[in-house]
């Protein structure tokens, strides 16, 4: 009898505790709207962001409530598309944002703060701006550490060459932060590996067709001094790979890139590239929506009560090499992410604070 009373009291206590941890739902689930805001869907990366969002929406039973917003590279349009959506039921609307430019984050966060909509941002925003500085509707910022990405691929390239020989580097648009950070990662590794020499570096603007002729010119200039190719993204890596193929060198000179686009993974499987790192577009396209749903259904407390490092953190990058390439080749199922979408594991890919 006593035991049973204790048990009841215990479970009552537990329910009470649960009540404190998990707030009452802010929205009826059927009212929740999921918005993925991104540049376009002509590139594999963006297409996968969208697929990730849809995968989550279906998993959460909110497929009919999923909205895709494409700004076609126009920052003003990204903001105005968001504002248009806020005219109805803003409090139950979640925006998962791939910012078209760093500067677009501020106006979108302002719009969320004013209207009561919820927003999760990715990649980078301008300095001095943080979710925990009174931006209560800004659930979180999931940053990508481009410097780490640069270091990761540089190390793999160095290892493949035994830390010895000349390499060439294709940079992205020089006026962008990821381009600078990834290249800084390469320079860091070069410093620690004295026999690895950077023969030349050129900007190919993230573009495959621009990388192709640069690689050809390098082959004419340096010939067999080139032992490895470093590219700040996969598109340029693949352009360089085609130039190597034309010279009969595909698969004989290791190539690394960043992004993890399907073709690069295929090239890694075939041994024509050796590595790429991915921020995992499926994850980025869905995690913000998952956070929002957890908040709105009361399964996690309000973001403003979260510790700082849960509101602005670095995303763990996935390094893809020949060993695990096949795993990334096929389209993932929702089951692959279900664990990370669970309200208890929202931060399982956090690499720590990003501020």
């Amino acid at each position: 009898m006593k035991k049973r009373a204790l048990g009841i009291a215990g479970s009552l206590l537990f329910m009470l505790a649960a009540k404190i941890v998990a707030a009452p739902p802010l929205c009826d689930k059927s009212q929740i709207r999921l918005v993925n805001s991104m540049r376009e869907i002509a590139q594999p990366y963006h297409a996968d962001l969208d697929r990730g969002g849809r995968l989550f929406a279906r998993w959460a039973g909110l497929e009919q409530r999923y909205v895709l917003q494409l700004n076609q590279g126009d920052s003003a349009k990204q903001v105005s598309l968001m504002r248009a959506m806020l005219t109805t039921n803003p409090m139950c609307t979640i925006f998962n944002v791939e910012p078209n430019a760093d500067l677009v984050v501020q106006p979108m966060v302002d719009a969320a703060n004013q209207s009561g909509a919820w927003i999760v941002t990715h990649w980078a925003h301008r300095e001095g701006l943080h979710p925990f500085d009174g931006n209560d509707q800004w659930i979180a910022h999931v940053a990508v550490n481009s410097f780490e990405a640069g270091i990761a691929i540089s190390k793999l390239l160095s290892d493949a060459l035994g830390g010895n020989g000349g390499i060439v580097a294709l940079q992205g648009r020089l006026d962008t932060d990821p381009a600078r950070q990834r290249f800084a990662g390469l320079k860091q590794v070069l410093k620690s590996v004295p026999n690895l020499r950077l023969l030349d570096q050129q900007a190919a603007n993230w573009d495959r067709t621009a990388a192709f002729p640069i690689m050809q010119t390098w082959l004419a200039r340096y010939g067999n001094q080139i032992r490895g190719v470093w590219a700040a993204n996969d598109d340029m890596a693949l352009g360089a790979l085609e130039a190597l193929r034309a010279a009969g060198l595909a698969g004989r000179i290791p190539v690394v890139g960043v992004d993890g686009i399907p073709e690069a993974i295929e090239a890694i499987r075939k041994g024509e590239m050796i590595a790429t790192v991915s921020s995992d577009a499926y994850y980025q396209g869905s995690i913000g929506l998952a956070m929002g749903v957890c908040v709105l259904t009361g399964q996690v407390p309000l973001p403003k009560t979260w510790p700082k490092e849960k509101r602005e953190y670095y995303l763990k990058l996935q390094v893809i090499t020949k060993d695990n390439a096949t795993r990334y080749l096929s389209d993932p199922q929702a089951t692959a992410y279900a664990h990370e979408w669970d309200c208890a594991n929202l931060w399982s890919r956090s690499m720590g604070k990003a501020y």
């Binding site: 573009d207 004419a220 085609e242 073709e263």
Partner: protein
């Protein structure tokens, strides 16, 4: 030596022809002095290969510019032809494997867009600048739709081997470019199309009044430009192995620059395909040379701008005259 106006070398007839050539030689000598391997066989082959697609585009553009118009749509045409060819030959997206027929259909897409350009300009009387700008945008949008986030990879071995391969150690794309150049030369000098284009550019009113079917030849020029842009898109795709909307990124400005550096006047009626070919080679030499002499990427754009300005000055010095109108 037959001084035309008796005013020294810079105004002699010979310099008319040789201005761009002199510029090219100066550049080559300069780059070779800075980096001796610049003049190696391997690098010359690379330069030839890099000139190939721009040259093909420039030949098409030349006739449009000779008529006093401009074709800004070539990047859009290249995008469409790139995706068309990639989705019709053996590829990763569709189940089709049309081979050469696919290539021809892709070229046809360029003809079709060129035809629309021509009709809008000649019949609807929209200035070519605006008309082709609009078509560029529409064509890119259409290509984006075809691409749909999954750029089709080209698995057709024949096409890939052609794009990357060589015949008697000459890159295949260079051979295509030379054939196109020869065709352009013949069209310009030995056919009505060439002569009438020159006449239309020289003075459209006069051409009309003397009974030339101006509209028809305007449409033809755009169709030809569209066809060659599509060819450029197909070759570019064969090289990178992918149907890509950015296959022609930056080519439009490069082509116009090449045409003008070569000495073809944007106001029409003066110039020709050989000049444009020289212009494209000059641009390819500059781009290649910049990498060769190791100018840091941060500075390259600025240096490139200065060189292009100086070259245009040198190459078009002979065209200077008090009464010449430049716009």
């Amino acid at each position: 030596m037959e001084p035309q106006h008796g005013q020294g070398v810079l105004k002699s007839t010979k310099f008319h022809r040789w201005g761009p050539c002199v510029a090219l030689i100066v550049l080559c000598v300069g780059f070779t002095l800075a980096g001796p391997r610049f003049a190696s066989m391997e690098n010359l082959r690379v330069i030839a290969e890099h000139s190939a697609i721009p040259l093909i585009l420039a030949v098409g553009m030349t006739f449009v510019v000779l008529q006093g118009a401009i074709d800004l749509s070539i990047e859009g045409v290249m995008a469409v032809s790139s995706l068309t060819v990639a989705m019709l030959v053996l590829n990763s997206r569709t189940g089709l494997d049309l081979g050469l027929t696919g290539v021809l259909l892709a070229l046809l897409s360029g003809v079709a867009i060129g035809f629309v350009n021509g009709i809008v300009v000649a019949r609807l009387r929209v200035p070519s600048f605006m008309a082709t700008l609009g078509i560029w945008s529409a064509a890119s949008g259409f290509a984006m739709l075809l691409s749909g986030g999954q750029p089709p990879r080209i698995h057709d071995h024949m096409l890939r081997a052609f794009g990357l391969g060589r015949t008697f150690s000459v890159p295949n794309v260079v051979i295509v470019a030379i054939v196109v150049l020869a065709l352009g030369y013949v069209l310009q000098n030995y056919t009505r199309f060439g002569r009438y284009s020159m006449a239309i550019g020289g003075g459209e009113q006069v051409a009309r009044l003397s009974g030339l079917p101006v509209d028809r030849y305007k449409v033809l020029a755009f169709v030809f430009s569209g066809l060659l842009a599509a060819l450029g898109g197909v070759l570019g795709s064969a090289q990178i192995g992918l149907g890509h909307i950015d296959v022609g990124l930056g080519q439009m400005f490069a082509t116009v620059t090449a045409v003008v550096i070569g000495g073809t006047s944007l106001s029409g009626g003066r110039g020709g395909v050989i000049q444009s070919a020289l212009g494209t080679v000059i641009l390819a030499v500059i781009a290649d040379g910049m990498i060769f002499i190791g100018i840091t990427p941060e500075l390259q754009k600025a240096v490139q701008g200065v060189i292009i300005l100086s070259v245009s000055l040198l190459a078009t010095w002979h065209l200077r005259s008090r009464l010449r109108i430049t716009r």
